[in-house]
């Protein structure tokens, strides 16, 4: 790969990148956080959640799939884009059944953490309360469709990292559902240590008998917002 250095700007800040970097990768290295949900470092980007939408030379693009190019002008932390991301997160909350109060992933959930980061106290859209299925057939892994946001991280991780292809999708649009390569989860060769389980950003794929192990106050997003692992610490006020 050509590793020639290029520069572009995000919100006026000069960013150095290597040719072949996506906007998101270059931004991460420069300490600029672009919110994302379906992206994971070890996986090929999918560009499906659109939370990382930025404006590139005025045009909306998914930062996780769009390659960085010399001289491009990227807008990231603008009121318009913050609003768009808030709306996407709102919609993900109302079109599933996200009962954070008893979810094992609460405090470590990326969807919830994004809502915290954006200061969402209640979604502005009406709740749909869809009927979704739970698969508890497997001895060690639970799949709760109520919490699935169809980011496809488990699908990609199972294929690319576990070499198993346990997960996939069926249906389209609002009917799109997580599916397994078997009549139920127990009939697949999924196992609790699989990358696919750890890849789930919400509480859809859960390892059994370890829920609530980390006490409140010591979970990933209890004290600092998602993205603060990328951003340099804010100057003291």
């Amino acid at each position: 790969m050509n590793t020639e250095a290029i520069t572009f700007t995000i919100d006026g800040k000069k960013i150095e990148a290597r040719r072949g970097d996506t906007i998101l990768e270059a931004a991460d290295r420069a300490g600029v956080y672009i919110p994302r949900l379906c992206w994971m470092k070890e996986l090929l980007p999918a560009g499906v959640c659109r939370v990382c939408t930025v404006r590139v030379n005025g045009r909306p693009q998914a930062a996780c799939t769009q390659p960085a190019a010399a001289g491009m002008v990227v807008e990231n932390d603008t009121e318009e884009l913050r609003q768009l991301r808030r709306d996407l997160i709102d919609m993900l909350f109302v079109e599933g059944n996200h009962f954070c109060m008893f979810c094992e992933r609460s405090g470590n959930c990326e969807l919830q953490a994004l809502a915290y980061r954006f200061g969402i106290t209640a979604p502005k859209y009406p709740f749909l309360f869809p009927r979704r299925s739970v698969d508890a057939s497997h001895p060690d892994v639970l799949a709760d469709g109520n919490r699935c946001i169809r980011c496809g991280r488990c699908v990609r991780a199972s294929r690319a990292l576990d070499g198993k292809s346990v997960f996939g999708f069926t249906g389209r649009g609002p009917q799109k559902r997580l599916a397994f390569n078997g009549p139920n989860l127990a009939a697949t060769d999924v196992a609790a240590p699989d990358h696919a389980i750890a890849a789930c950003p919400t509480g859809t794929l859960i390892v059994k008998r370890v829920g609530y192990k980390v006490p409140i106050g010591r979970r990933l997003y209890d004290h600092s917002p998602i993205g603060s692992e990328i951003e340099p610490p804010a100057p003291e006020k």
Binding site: F99, M101, A115, A122, F127, F129, R131, I216, P225
Partner: protein, 181 residues
């Protein structure tokens, strides 16, 4: 000058949010200096008596009585706040929303494994408020000015929001006080 008035109620909730309000510990002495309480389970006043500055709603709307109380609060409260996950998103009671109401009744009064009901009748006394088809968050029934999620919202969250409003500020919560669990 008269003190600002606060009213509170629990609709389809578990009173956990009211417990959390009591959990402000000795700040409760400061609270009674700052405000007067109108209708609230804390003083057992059953009807709102006058105009209220801040109304706190715990719980969502699962039946017609919840709706009537919520409308009463909206009518009399300058600022109405949804307190807790049930008020902001339906909470645990909303788990019935994925099941048709008829099936809920049948499970509870006819087919459930622990049901003893020789008459086979589903309770229908006019004294019992009719259930709504679903459990609704409060903002899907009336205008809600602010939401304080949490199950329950912590005492610090409730205190920070109340103090901000009483001082005429927007109740913007610091990161650690906005939680959904």
């Amino acid at each position: 000058m008269a003190k600002p008035k606060v009213a509170t109620t629990s609709l389809c909730g578990c009173f956990g949010c009211h417990m959390s309000l009591l959990d402000i510990d000795d700040r409760i002495l400061k609270l009674v200096e700052l405000v007067d309480f109108d209708r609230s389970p804390i003083n057992d006043i059953k009807k709102i008596e006058g105009q209220v500055d801040i109304g706190l709603i715990e719980g969502g709307c699962c039946n017609e009585e919840n709706l009537a109380v919520l409308h009463e609060f909206r009518k009399h409260c300058k600022i109405l706040i949804s307190v807790g996950d049930c008020a902001t998103n339906g909470g645990i009671p909303a788990m019935r929303n994925m099941v048709p109401l008829g099936e809920c009744y049948e499970e509870a009064f006819l087919n459930g494994p622990t049901v003893v009901n020789p008459t086979g009748r589903i309770p229908d006394d006019p004294e019992i408020p009719l259930l709504l088809d679903k459990v609704y968050p409060c903002h899907e029934a009336v205008k809600i000015d602010y939401h304080l999620p949490g199950c329950p919202p912590s005492a610090d969250t409730l205190w920070a929001a109340l103090v901000a409003l009483l001082e005429g500020r927007e109740p913007e919560l610091p990161y650690e006080l906005l939680k959904y669990d």
